[in-house]
Amino acid sequence: MKILVCISHVPDTTSKINFTDNDTKFDTNGVQFVINPNDEFGLTRAMWFKEKQGATVDVANVGGPETEPTLRKALAIGADGAIRVNAPATDGYAVAKQLANVVKDGGYDLVIAGRESIDYNGGMVPGMLAELIGANFVTNCISLEVDGNNAKAVREIDGGKETVSTTLPLVIGGQKGLVEESDLRIPNMRGIMMARQKPLKVMEPISANVETSSVKFEKPAPKGAVKLVSPDNLDELIALLHNEAKVI
């Protein structure tokens, strides 16, 4: 089995979010970038397939040279090779078109992406990619088993979950649950050394229309101070929620 794990390169979850250039650009100053958490679950599941069932695992990112440390980290965790498509990741559709080209080029049968990136939270790329390459698609995936050409997956739905069966080629949008938190791997020294020897291929982008564009950013309005209520006066809390906030 040939697996491609799509990696988006996102600000660490504790990052303070600021903007520059008249609020048109994300301020990367002092921001630490990481593998998107949903992709880290996917990568870990891919390593399981590699070790238990035999598979080659490549990782891909669409982005500028600044994303290479993130790809190297994925190699240090155990991926066999990495591909960076040298184009800015501005629009989900454009990213999906670049990834579709990577998948066709490399002949992957299973593509593991994340449910969403935690930066723009588009939740777009995996579904678009699946449709562009004519693969089956399951998102919000919390379990995945592959047996030959057949796959079984569990998808989280509002208020429950659903078990589905499908076939390769397949794209999934993974999330927490795909593997246990305790299965996540921190790259060790050996992994980091080996990653330096592994191939990181840079592909030039194919031409793709940009369908959506970011105009500007805005921060939420600052919040007023919290109103404290004494634990001995919970009637007041109920009155506030009823009369002031009007939520009960």
């Binding site: 579904g127 998102t139 078990t163 369908e211 805005e218 109920i238 009960i248």
Partner: protein
């Protein structure tokens, strides 16, 4: 040319989000000087959509569509958009609509903006405001394609009445085969789901262990609320993964979010910030959650929660 809105239903009844996206579609249609057509799949009371400004309903009824399937539903919606010549398609952001939207976008060659929270700030270029960086910021996105898809965040626009006469028209699209088969569906029994809930009661590690969740459930019961938890609580196996909310868990956009024994880490807050009113109950006055909350009680959850539940019961009895 009319704006097309996909109005999701469950067991024949429209979901609340369906009425919200209809309200939103009406506002977009007014801006564009056109009308709203809804596409409904196996829903019964299509007239209900009229209340929210829908003037035509393409009503699909087919047993093959009883179980949701993203690719098939995307195909049905695409056929409806083409029939109506719609340039704007509005969807909600339920798990199902989020699943089908990217497939629909490729099929209609449409630009798609997800997590939209307001009516378009401009229609030329077509520009919408959406959340970004997991609710830590907003982004104005313009969509340049001929056909545009807007995914409206749940509980962001609200229900707006605009009486119209929703004329139903039977619509029989081609229903394609597809490669993903649902084997079984496992719904948490008679519980309010986090996505649909107006109120969410959430517990953190401050509750010490799974045996103490009875009081969280009771509080949720009185309020008709869904229960949720912080990430460590689900990692420890005290509560199921499906209850984990936050940046890497389920997003919450309820009217009221009550956090009990949750410190208010940035990753937790990111996922629940879209809730309108936040209440925190925590015995540490320095807990970061107090900076994010509207109302707070500094106190021991084991005393405050049962007391609050009793008082709410009295309140509900009086206001029934």
């Amino acid at each position: 040319m009319s704006v097309l809105v996909y109005t999701e239903s469950e067991k024949g009844k429209f979901k609340k989000t369906a009425l919200e996206v209809a309200s939103y579609a009406k506002s977009v249609a007014d801006q564009l000087g056109t009308t709203v057509t809804a596409i409904s799949i196996n829903a019964d009371n299509t007239a209900e959509l009229g209340t929210y400004g829908v003037s035509k309903v393409l009503q699909v009824k087919d047993a093959k569509l009883d179980t949701f399937n993203a690719k098939t539903f995307a195909s049905v919606i695409k056929q409806a958009a083409e029939k109506e010549g719609s340039k704007v398609v509005v969807l909600s952001q339920t798990a199902d609509s989020k699943y089908l939207a990217p497939i629909l976008a490729v099929n209609l060659d449409a630009g798609y903006a997800s997590n939209v929270v307001e009516a378009p700030s401009s229609t030329s270029p077509f520009t919408v405001k959406r959340t970004a960086f997991t609710n830590k910021a907003f982004n104005f996105t313009s969509i340049g394609t001929d056909v545009k898809i807007v995914g409206l965040s749940n509980n962001s626009f609200g229900l707006k009445e605009h009486p119209a006469n929703a004329a139903a028209e039977v619509f029989s699209p081609i229903i394609p085969e597809n490669g993903v088969h649902v084997d079984s569906v496992d719904m948490a029994s008679n519980k309010v789901s986090i996505a649909d809930a107006e109120i969410v009661v959430s517990g953190g590690r401050g509750l010490k262990g799974p045996e103490n969740w009875g009081m969280i459930e009771e509080l949720a019961n009185v309020l008709g609320a869904a229960t949720a938890c912080s990430k460590p609580v689900s990692d420890l196996g005290w509560r199921p993964h499906s209850e984990h909310v936050g940046q890497t868990g389920k997003p919450v956009a309820s009217n009221l979010y009550i956090a009990v024994g949750i410190s208010g880490a940035i990753q937790h807050l990111a996922g629940i910030n879209a809730s309108k009113v936040k209440v925190v109950i925590n015995n540490d006055p320095e807990a970061p959650f107090f900076k994010a909350a509207d109302y707070g009680v500094v106190g021991d959850a084991f005393e405050v929660v049962p007391k609050l539940t009793e008082k709410l019961k009295e309140f509900k009895a009086q206001n029934a």
